[in-house]
């Protein structure tokens, strides 16, 4: 039987190879009867005329492998791949699973070499700024395999807003901020020969080297010498290795100097100094941080005497609170103020604050609809709330609703089960519903009933705070 000669172009000629495979399979030509040649001027040696043939169904893993291995520089790659395809289609469909098979092993090594070269190209390309007004960059790189087209999309994803060119002996790639195009091979002289940041970069490279750990073998395993000449920092390598031993000896010989001062006073003082000492200082920190979820007009801080006996903690400011910059001034706040007065608690004597300090909402037309803070958002604000309480040391902390309970206790707890007295860390606490819950109830009868229950909670809160005062009981609950 005659030998069929298939000619492919230099480079990763996936197109011709795919076409040839279809035809060879259709013709049932076994690998030993096929020869693959690489030539820039095909047709000189009476090549086979490869005619169109139907696509061949091969497993995904095999076609992925082919796409990688055609990039390899080994001229034998096409013959090896065709051998693989032939076996897969002739009774060994799961051949790739047999990683110990000599052919699979060899092709796998080739694929790995291609992937490694791709990875190294992504890592070792060094752009230089081109002279001129406009910011344009170019790099000269010498890959081991035909990987330019496979490597280019990475640079597009990364340097989308930059104008860049990568020049190689196998072709060039250009990104003009809109389109990626490939051009002819280039030479080193086409790229700029310096960049103003290279010296700084080399200095950085020298400084991160630890002379006590010198290990050039490990370096060369990951950064083979063939890449060095296009990486500006590698010029420093010989000097670094040469002087390493000397530098370490000097460090070791040098007498250890006794620490000038071992007392940690200054550090401890600095840690104390950074803590906010007043609510004003704390609020300034919160204001500076800005909202976690964008949208709020301003941070809404707690309001009331700084040494109030009772602190009420709500969920987060609403629409009105956000605009006015004060807590509990909307409909729910008005209801709370009314109920407090009926229970004998003057709003002016209590301190009202929220677990979350910024309004979060969904815009629906002209209206801003309150949206509930997530557990993560509540915890984001939690350290501030804890500091707020620490600065006030109130006698009783009232959690209005589940969000407040989560903020104060760190755990999600349903109100129905935990309503009543509670302990929040070092503080005496009380759990009740949020007044907005009362506003949302559908019918008047339930509303009245719920309001009465809320009122009786407030009466107990009032009594508890009083009892604390009269008996002289310690303000901090025993843990």
């Amino acid at each position: 039987m005659t030998l069929h000669r298939i000619t492919l172009e230099t480079g990763a000629d996936l197109h011709t190879f795919r076409k040839a495979v279809r035809w060879l399979i259709a013709e049932e030509l076994a690998p030993q009867h096929v020869m693959f040649a690489i030539d820039d001027a095909p047709g000189l040696f009476g090549d086979e005329t490869v005619s169109e043939a139907p696509p061949v169904a091969i497993p995904k893993g095999v076609s992925r492998l082919i796409e990688q291995v055609v990039c390899h520089s080994d001229p034998e790659r096409y013959a090896l791949l065709y051998g693989l395809v032939w076996r897969v289609l002739n009774g060994e469909r799961d051949l790739l699973e047999v990683a110990s098979d000599p052919l699979v092993h060899r092709i796998d090594l080739m694929a790995r070499s291609v992937r490694r070269d791709l990875h190294k190209m992504h890592a070792f390309v060094r752009f230089r700024r081109m002279p001129g007004e406009l910011e344009r960059f170019a790099a000269w790189f010498e890959p081991e395999h035909f990987i330019l087209e496979a490597a280019a999309p990475f640079f597009v994803d990364r340097f989308r807003s930059m104008d860049w060119t990568i020049l190689t002996p196998i072709g060039s790639a250009r990104w003009d901020r809109h389109e990626l195009t490939f051009g002819p091979p280039a030479s080193r002289e086409d790229a700029p020969d310096e960049d103003s940041f290279e010296e700084g970069w080399r200095g950085y490279y020298e400084s991160v080297f630890n002379p006590a750990r010198v290990n050039p073998t490990a370096m060369r395993a990951e950064m083979p010498k063939k890449y060095w000449r296009n990486m500006p920092e590698t010029a420093a390598i010989p000097g670094l290795i040469q002087t390493a031993a000397q530098r370490v000896e000097r460090m070791i010989e040098q007498e250890a100097t006794m620490p000038a001062k071992r007392t940690p006073e200054r550090a401890i003082q600095a840690m104390w100094d950074q803590e906010p000492k007043t609510l004003e200082e704390l609020n300034a920190i919160i204001a500076k941080a800005g909202p976690l979820v964008p949208g709020a007009t301003q941070a809404v801080f707690g309001e009331g005497p700084h040494h109030a006996e009772i602190v009420f903690v709500g969920e987060q400011p609403g629409d009105q609170e956000d605009l006015q910059g004060r807590p509990f001034v909307g409909p729910a706040g008005k209801l709370l103020t009314k109920a407090m007065r009926e229970a004998g608690i003057e709003r002016e004597q209590a301190y009202l604050t929220n677990a979350v300090k910024h309004f979060k909402f969904e815009q629906r037309g002209h209206r801003r609809i309150h949206s509930k803070p997530t557990a993560g958002e509540v915890k984001h604000y939690r350290p501030w709330l804890m500091k707020e309480l620490e600065l006030m040391r109130p006698k009783l902390v009232v959690a209005l609703g589940a969000t407040a309970v989560l903020a104060l206790s760190g755990k999600a707890t349903p109100i129905t089960r935990s309503r009543g007295r509670a302990t929040f860390g070092p503080y005496q606490g009380y759990i009740t519903v949020h007044p907005s819950y009362l506003l949302r109830l559908p019918d008047e009868a339930t509303k009245r009933e719920a309001y009465q229950a809320f009122l009786s909670d407030l009466h107990r809160i009032h009594d508890l705070a009083q009892a604390n005062l009269e008996t002289g009981e310690l303000p901090l609950a025993a843990e």
């Binding site: 799961d94 006590a212 600095a270 920190i285």
Partner: protein, 404 residues
């Protein structure tokens, strides 16, 4: 780049180089916006290697090496006489952007000495990250070393801008912390790690950005008398309790202007290497600390052979293992067989019966594996019980230490 900035960069890179927990892995995949700069890939990229074999991935620098603290192992402790410098926020931003544009780096790894106060320092670091993200549309990798002594709300904010936050434990036991880092407190470092873990988990559930690449830490090895078993026990706790992505081990190496209470000798590089191997056994090979401890001597790993081989030599009754029949768990315990090789064996043997030459194509550790393996054409027989097996399997060190 002007000379003043170059000088600062040298000082502040030199001051940061002893921190090894600096990979650029684990960030969610991102691409740059049309007007922005930067992307991330899952596994990270090493853009260069220095002659110590270490990877240069991120621009690893300190904001400043002035420091109020006085940790004996640290080159930047306040009683050290090293040169000092401080970057401005804008200088760090410029360096990051310009280095990134030239494809030198994957992003920024910023740490700092503590100046004025922990909060002030943390705020400056956050400002760098914020400016990169907001003013430059920077989508590359940002790793911030958090200061455990900083206020909790600042850690919260740092997590919004960084891909990874980390706190270095540095010393594995309370005693060593007390001795070498008088202002640090192990309990507060671990509390900070626990809080970080909780926040990362929550944010993940809520699909919000908070240090999406998780947290890592570093322990210094060889600065005091702590044993390998103690170090590994600590690591197991850190992986178990706080879902650490990585625990890095850093062989203590002599530093310029060293403190008198530290050992001035070559860094125990082989010990560091063995600790990493043992760490992998804990995480990917189904070993527990007690098993590794039981094949150590006085709590120290055998420096001549890898910890899996050390375990196998002390547990010869569990071998030989038949590659064509044994389950995955047991194959993972065969010296010289990595997890990848084991997976390939398990798949390949469905189609074929493996011979020794087949196994040779799947692993580079055949020499170590051979006495413990049965293949279609090989059985170690009495060789497994030979007394000199350990000596035969010792590999000559690839790299002689500088001091030998």
């Amino acid at each position: 780049m002007d000379e003043k900035l170059s000088k600062k960069l040298r000082i502040l890179a030199d001051a940061a180089k002893y921190d090894a927990s600096c990979s650029s892995s684990g960030a969610p995949k991102r691409k740059s916006d049309p007007d922005g700069l930067g992307s991330t890939v899952g596994t990270g990229i090493c853009h260069a290697y220095t002659p110590d074999g270490r990877c240069v991935s991120l621009l690893k620098i300190l904001l400043t090496n002035y420091c109020l603290f006085n940790c004996a192992y640290c080159v930047n402790r306040r009683s050290s006489n090293v040169k000092r410098a401080k970057f401005s926020v804008d200088e760090v931003v410029t360096l990051t952007v310009e280095f990134y544009k030239r494809n030198y780096i994957e992003g920024l790894f910023l740490s700092s000495g503590i100046i004025r106060s922990p909060d002030y320092t943390m705020e400056q670091m956050i400002l760098v990250a914020k400016k990169l993200r907001r003013d430059h549309g920077f989508r590359g990798y940002i790793h911030l070393k958090t200061i455990p002594e900083a206020s909790p709300w600042l850690i919260e904010e740092a997590g919004l801008w960084a891909d990874r936050l980390s706190i270095n434990l540095e010393l594995p036991t309370e005693q060593s912390l007390e001795q070498l880092a008088p202002e640090k407190d192990g309990a507060s470092i671990e509390t900070a790690m626990a809080q970080m873990f909780e926040r990362i988990e929550e944010a993940r559930e809520e699909r919000r950005h908070f240090s999406p690449a998780g947290q890592t830490t570093q322990m210094i090895v060889g600065a005091d008398e702590t044993t390998d078993t103690d170090v590994l026990r600590k690591s197991a706790t850190l992986y178990g309790h706080y879902a650490m992505k990585r625990v890095y081990y850093s062989a203590f190496s002599p530093i310029p202007d060293s403190s008198a209470i530290l050992p001035l000798k070559s860094p125990p590089l082989m010990r560091e290497n063995r600790l990493y191997q043992a760490d992998w056994l804990l995480r990917y090979y189904g070993f527990d600390v007690d098993e590794i401890a039981s094949s150590s001597e006085k709590g120290m790993l055998d420096l001549d052979i890898d910890p899996k081989l050390a375990w196998a030599l002390k547990n010869r009754h569990r071998f030989p293992v038949d590659v064509n029949r044994a389950d995955r768990e047991m194959l993972l315990r065969v010296p010289g067989l990595g997890a990848r090789a084991v997976d390939k064996i398990v798949v390949a043997r469905k189609h074929t019966t493996l011979r020794l030459e087949d196994v040779a194509r799947l692993t580079s550790g055949l020499k170590r594996a051979k006495p413990f393996l049965i293949t279609a054409d090989h059985h170690p027989k009495a060789r497994l019980d030979k007394l000199d097996l350990r000596e035969r399997l010792i590999e000559k060190p690839e790299q002689l230490s500088l001091f030998v």
